[in-house]
Symmetry: C2
DNA sequence: TTTGTATATCACCAGATGGTTATGTATGCA
DNA sequence: TGCATACATAACCATCTGGTGATATACAAA
């Protein structure tokens, strides 16, 4: 299996249903697929597709447990997003540094 | 104009062309629309559409300067993304806390 | 075995997305 | 006034996305 791209990660977290799944995994740890669907208004295949997107982005890992499949959070790839966005943090924090100086050259 | 939603922000940054535009604005400050298209392989209307998405997500502001329109970075809404992702930072940083304890209940 | 449960995949569909060319609008300049 | 420049929008199109019901696969239990 080829490594997930940064683009796949950005795309994966662009969907609210998938962010919700990640949030659930963070709060509750290893969770069966169907259980992750609780609160998700959609069919089982729809859920399964979201899980596949998360898998292919490298954001979750699976392990079989009897006839269930347990999903676990795998947050590593989120570091790519964090790295990108951290460049901007200084802006909204109101600090003026080398980057901010270039901004808002309004007369 | 209605306030931009968090969802609009996540969607806006999901496209590499738009992230690239934001990066350019961060580095170079107020920039004319066409100039932002340098390095972007696509038509002028395509660029204009991306800029509209960024505008509607509240990530850029515009100001007219003669016959050009200058775009300025408006990073505030990115704080929503940062807030969400910061929940996960502790995970990939390897710290074990209340959240991490729930994870990886692998035997 | 047969049956039930848990999940993934298939085949398909409607709507969103990103691209295009053509055109409209605002501004500056001859 | 007329024309060029800078940008936005309109109209259209192909592809992607997320949804669906039907079906396949894996495992457990009867």
């Amino acid at each position: 299996m080829t490594a997930a791209t940064t683009q796949q990660v950005f795309r994966a977290i662009a969907d609210p249903a998938r962010r919700s799944i990640l949030d659930r995994l963070a709060r509750e740890g290893a969770t069966a697929a169907l259980e992750l669907g609780a609160g998700f208004h959609g069919s089982q295949p729809a859920l399964s597709k979201h899980l596949r997107v998360l898998r292919e982005a490298g954001l979750v890992r699976t392990r079989r447990d009897g006839r269930r499949v347990l999903y676990t959070l795998r947050p590593g790839p989120l570091a790519d997003v964090e790295r990108w966005i951290s460049l901007y943090r200084q802006f909204w924090e109101g600090r003026l540094d080398a980057l901010a100086r270039h901004l808002d050259e309004t007369p």
